[in-house]
């Protein structure tokens, strides 16, 4: 509630299909963006889809404050996200933003960013921010198969990228937890930042607990308002139910009742 929220029509600059079900959408703000931090999200108004009534929360994939450019990485899973995937240059997209807390900056420079599915979206923006703080992030990306993996070159510019695929078609075969970087007694990182499917994040939270690491997880609870007004998006924490949309989406895994 400390950061001012806005509601604005953005203009679609381009929609690029990066895999069969992932698109990257570049959006232009009418003027300049306010401060936006990695881990924050926007609430997208989906137009003219009879079965999409509420807004859809989507993470900020990248943002250029001065240029007023916001980038979203969207996985098409249902009617709302499929509609986003078909946006054309010049179309308007109404957003409520910026929402939620953000990934805290680490006190160490040994960080691992673990993404699964569309959970990789906020990690690019986080990686860039870490670099600004002089930290070279490493990425561990999990996907079903090579075909489900987006181009990693932007991530590679920021730091090393490790990949696991369930079918072994790229990188290590298995889930992220099966990657060699995770399979040492003494991990060479102190903090995990993760966003992705809940089972994956739970495994990482447990891993972090076992190895006494910090672990920041970004939840994707379903939301109605996105601004703390409805209390629909709660997650159970040691301090009771907290709203994913304003107290999160990023939580210290130790605080969650996982």
């Amino acid at each position: 509630m400390c950061q001012k929220k806005y509601i604005d029509d953005f203009t679609v600059l381009q929609t690029r299909r990066v895999t069969h079900d992932y698109v990257i959408i570049d959006l232009q703000h009418p003027s300049q963006l306010p401060d936006i931090r990695p881990g924050q999200f926007v609430q997208v108004k989906v137009e003219d889809r009879p079965n999409v009534f509420l807004r859809r929360p989507i993470s900020v994939h990248d943002a250029d404050k001065n240029q007023g450019i916001l980038r979203l990485l969207v996985q098409e899973v249902g009617e709302g996200t499929r509609w986003m995937g078909q946006l054309e240059p010049g179309q308007k997209l109404n957003l409520v933003y910026p929402l939620g807390n953000s990934f805290p900056m680490p006190k160490t420079d040994r960080v691992l960013l673990v993404g699964g599915g569309c959970g990789i979206a906020p990690l690019l923006f986080l990686g860039k921010e870490l670099r600004k703080h002089g930290i070279k992030p490493r990425f561990l990306m999990g996907a079903r198969s090579a075909a489900h993996l987006i181009d990693m070159s932007e991530y590679r510019e920021l730091g090393d990228v490790y990949v696991t695929t369930e079918d072994g078609s790229e990188g290590t075969k298995g889930f992220v937890i099966h990657h060699p970087v995770m399979k040492t007694d003494k991990p060479d990182f102190d903090v995990i930042y993760t966003c992705g499917p809940e089972p994956m994040m739970k495994v990482l939270a447990k891993y972090a607990a076992n190895h006494h690491l910090d672990c920041h997880v970004s939840l994707e609870n379903s939301m109605a308002c996105g601004i703390g007004a409805c209390l629909c998006c709660v997650t159970a924490t040691q301090q009771g139910n907290k709203c994913t949309c304003i107290d999160g989406p990023v939580f210290d895994s130790k605080d969650l009742k996982w």
């Binding site: 509601i7 009534f53 509420l54 601004i227 709660v234």
Partner: protein, 303 residues
């Protein structure tokens, strides 16, 4: 200049547009988007005597032109409201009403009494219709004797505006409206959510942790409008209409059906600016139809 102000049985609203409890937080959440003092009033979250954690996640499911919720009255209790939240929102110049809930009559009474001690709160909305709590809540609102009993008890301790929020999950809402009128309510608001359910067919599981939840949004508008019309013809106290209102036309429909004021709930989630647009739209409508005073529209439906 058209006159939008409403005298709700003593409660002065600068216009008929209020926000519905549980959908507008404590007002602060929306103050970034516009000055919420433009509103006729806001009704803050359902408040109970003691702290409540509410129901487990998931609490929400999207439905055709609507949504189900099962928040279950999560709140920190009336004492926390009085000492921590209220000071933070007492600078609002619009009417801030507190939605009061409970599991027993004693709880309702104690909560209302505590609110009565807060001079900046001009009224309460007594929620006898919440479908998302196991005990009490909706049960009070679905039987006439129990609705009357809780309103009579609260009336004893609450001297300011007492709005009673009715449940639509009843055979005869008029009977209950008349009952609470007789018990001393200053106004009635309707409707609360319709009890509904959603299922994930692939997972073969309910979408809500509580299995059933409260339906709101445009889908319920026809039912809400019917109930407002039925009740407004039978009670003398003012009726506050809500249920699916998403634009000025919807608001006008409720006013024509007999509502002296309206509340906007779920629509705030879809468009945080919707209340301002509704106020502007009502004004435009009045100018276009040459109506000088909003009162002329209340119940003006030509049948």
């Amino acid at each position: 200049m058209v006159n939008l102000s409403v005298d709700l049985n003593g409660l002065q609203l600068k216009n008929p547009v209020m926000t519905a409890s549980g959908t507008y937080g404590y007002g602060e959440e929306y103050n970034d988007f516009y000055d919420i003092n433009q509103l006729g009033g806001i009704i803050v979250k359902g408040t109970t005597l003691n702290h409540r954690e509410g129901n487990a996640y998931p609490r929400m499911a999207e439905t055709p032109m609507g949504m189900l919720n099962a928040v279950g009255l999560q709140n920190k209790g009336v004492e926390y409201f009085a000492t921590t939240i209220n000071p933070r929102i007492s600078h609002f110049t619009t009417n801030v009403l507190v939605n009061v809930s409970g599991s027993t009559i004693e709880e309702y009474v104690a909560t209302a009494e505590r609110i009565a001690s807060l001079p900046n709160i001009p009224g309460i909305e007594l929620n006898i219709s919440c479908p998302n709590v196991k005990e009490g809540g909706m049960a009070f609102g679905t039987s006439c004797p129990s609705a009357v009993a809780v309103v009579e008890a609260v009336r004893q301790v609450f001297p300011r505006h007492l709005m009673v929020k009715l449940s639509p999950n009843v055979t005869n809402i008029v009977e209950i409206a008349k009952g609470v009128e007789g018990a001393g309510a200053d106004s009635v608001s309707l409707i609360n959510t319709l009890l509904g359910m959603a299922i994930d067919a692939e997972k073969q599981r309910p979408m809500l942790s509580t299995i059933t939840g409260g339906l709101s949004g445009p889908a319920v508008k026809p039912v809400a409008l019917r109930m407002v019309w039925q009740v407004a013809r039978e009670v003398k106290i003012p009726v506050v209409g809500l249920g699916g209102i998403s634009n000025a036309t919807d608001a006008i429909e409720f006013i024509l059906a007999g509502a002296s004021a309206i509340q906007v709930g779920t629509a705030n989630f879809v468009d945080p600016m919707v209340c301002v647009k509704i106020i502007d739209g009502i004004r435009d409508y009045m100018i276009r139809h040459q109506v000088n005073d909003i009162k002329e529209l209340v119940g003006a439906l030509r049948c």
